[in-house]
Amino acid sequence: MLVLAALAMLGAAMAADRKSGKPFSAGVGIATFGILLAAAALLFAPPVAETGTPLLANDPLARIFKAVVLGLGLFSVWVPPARREIENPGEYYALVLFALTGLMLTVGSNHLLFLFVALELASLSLYLLAGFPRTPRAAEASLKYFLFGGVSAAFLLFGISLLYGVSHSATLSGVAQALAAGRPSLPGMTGLAMVLAGLGFKLAAVPFHYWAPDVYQGAPATTVAIVAAASKAVGLLVLVRVLQIGFPLLAGCAAWGEMAAGWSLWLAVLAAASMIAGNLLALAQTGVRRLLAYSAIANTGYLFVALAAAGPKSAGAALFYVVVYGLATLGALAVTADVERDRGDDRVCSFAGLIHRSPFQAVCLLVFLTSLAGVPPLAGFPGKFALFSNAMAESATAGKPGLVWLVGLAAILSAASLYYYLAVLKRVFARESITGGERGTMPPVHALAVALPAAALVVLGVFPALLLEPLTRALMDTLAGR
């Protein structure tokens, strides 16, 4: 199918392993080619409603998100890690492609077990990618990632099996039907909780977030980019599908004054915890990578706010925001990688005077961090705005307060987050450059990795409807179809 094309390229990549000369750029080049091929296949494949196997679905939402994964993956590939870190670029990029394949399969899956397999394919690749360089830090990152990931995978599997036990069906719609017929049962809720835990790990929600700072700091930049962008997007999509399609009835309510047990309430609690922990801990960071990690945790909190509203528009807004967030974070990582290469570390003070050394990167970093902070005219702003307004709209009707407590908390913490983003930007723009450090040249793909997401964020900032409308419509079509 679509992904087989990508798989084919993996083989070629492995073969290209041994070539000396410029193995690195060859690796990047082949990976790019593979991704583009998959994208072409996606575009030109006939929009068939139902494919052969019931394992995979080809609904509109899946198609959009496959494109999203490919796009984010492409940009991630173009974020070059420090050259010294990667000894076998061929293997590295092969693993990258494997991870992307896994993610693509996850997007399309409709069967719970298949979902698990695809997710594990991606995760295992990512564990290896995290530990690829032979540095102690990377090893620590990889180990933590693997341990946490393993536990969460166990949770996920156990939850799935519980659900199967309850519903005798392994598709999401089957689960929904079974639950609709009978009363909500303890195994059902427990299964759901465990699935949530497993997915929560993927998304770095509190209290499943402990791996994130170390992975963001220790792993090579490309890996982190995939983790932060593509993997997170897919994780959210899975969560949305699971909750909206599988368990609409178990939602409960998180509105003020009307709280009822259900995944909406759990998500609300997780959201609050993630936002508070992520934002507060980010304030204390001196390294940009760890800062981005805590920002990831906080952003998961914002996403969960929207999901807690349990409505289709909120979910659509969340999907939009996760894409925007992914673009911004991977762009920021790209610039950070360059600064690391130039100055040796990613501390905030190393960014000083970037506007003089490399105005292009400084302006793009401005775009990325501003979008993360949620300041217009970048895409982060309509994203967050859509999150909050749809969360309110779908939880507060007829003047009842609804989720205002959560939205209020989110708005205030999001505003406070500007502080730590400005801490970086202030050094970039207002401080003078410290001399010293080698000035490596920037590979052209790197420039693309920085420029294209920035451009996308600007365009989406002014015309968010370009992505928001299709996503929302696709989601509603998918929900209606089931």
């Binding site: 217009p376 859509a386 969360a391 709209a393 609804g402 209020g408 505003a415 400005l422 207002a430």
Partner: protein, 494 residues
Amino acid sequence: MTPTWTISSAFAGALLVLLPPARMAGSARIIALAASLVGMIAAALSCLARLNHPDAPVWRFDAPWIPCMGIRFHLAADGLSLTLLLLTGLIAVAGVLFSWNVEKRPRAFFAWFLTIIGGVYGVFLSRDAFLLFVCYEIVILPKYMLIAIWGSTNREYGAMKLTMYSIGASALILIGLVAAYAAAGATSFDLLHLAGADYPAAMQAWAFPVLFLGFAVLAGMWPFHTWAPTGHVAAPTAASMLLAGVVMKLGAFGALCVAMPLFEQGLGLWKPLIAGLAVVGIVYGALTALAQKDLKFVIGYSSVSHMGFVLLGLAAANHWGLRGAVLQMISHGVIAGLLFGIAGRVVYERTRTRDLAALRGFDLWRSLPGAAVAFTLATAASMGLPGFSGFVAEISVIVGLWKVYPWLTVGVAIGIIITGAFSLRALQKTCFPARPPADAATAPPLPPLTWPEISAIGLLLAVSLAIGIYPKPWVVLIDDGLRSPLFQSILPLP
């Protein structure tokens, strides 16, 4: 020339200003001047057009933007918006003129400057709450950059304090807006739609103070005003002019056109407190200004005091009060721009000091008489002396206040007197030292006023005088804006 020329000229200018190569960086100021002039002329022509055709339908631009949330790109220019557009244009031109000699990274400076101007134009023209909020937030980051990079005293701290207050207040606005959107049926963000919806009284009781406070922080309401003096002092001249002259008015405009129409019952509940805080702000600002040693701090606190009049007019919530509030917005914008321009550019650039005691040594009345005359007239305007715009605004607010809270007029009278005192103190310490110091003869001669400075001072003074002596066209425009259906619940038609 439609009013959109204001927004587009500002943003286009912001981009164009970055184009010249590094060697010709000085040409950035010419581009900036051209862009701001285009904006000002567009605003002025639109005002004239509206004066000549008062019964024509209001100019409007309405296009869908994010349909799934009911957000439209909706601009409209009634008299109220037009007068504030003109104010922005004036401050933009004057700001560029006063920044004529910026040497450090002029392209970036004017780019940030024009971005703020564009955002401000956008706020004044928006009729959709989302669009208004977008433009409102666009100015936050450029404000930070202008102060942190080109500022003076304590600039990074001042910039961060100002920015965090701004964005914190914006968070409150966001909460209020989203709550209103949800309660109004989540179909549209249009201001009229949101204003027309019926919100339960319990909701209005908490939603109004949240929304109003969000806007009022930026308007410098006591006791949330502490960002203003620090920020204004830290900022470079043009930024101070923008901040005090225009950006603070964004908060007042938002309070007037968003918070008040949306939650009228909430307004009725919280009005007395707002009026009280406003009077406290007037007196407190004036008293604090009286005690300052730094000239810019005096002007900064005087801004807090003057904005108290705006908030007081809003709290009176009747025709005279609102009219006075808008007049004071315009008047104070011009006067603050003038004062910061003179203090920052004319005086500081030459004497390198803003300390009142040190300025005594320069004997400005003899060494720089043009500046002394200009500063005298600006001080007269700031005191609210008749003949200048501040007087018209203050009497309108006081008449409106008599109707609703007569006893507060005592506080206002006291505030006026203390304002006279600190203005005079600043004036006499700066320009007219008690006795020329013994070394007056050896004080270095100061370079005379340059033509950009003279043009800017002349422009702003002329406007203030024009409003003070012939306020009729301005009042006509403002009344035209106040007739909008947005205010119908607050100002019932006779």
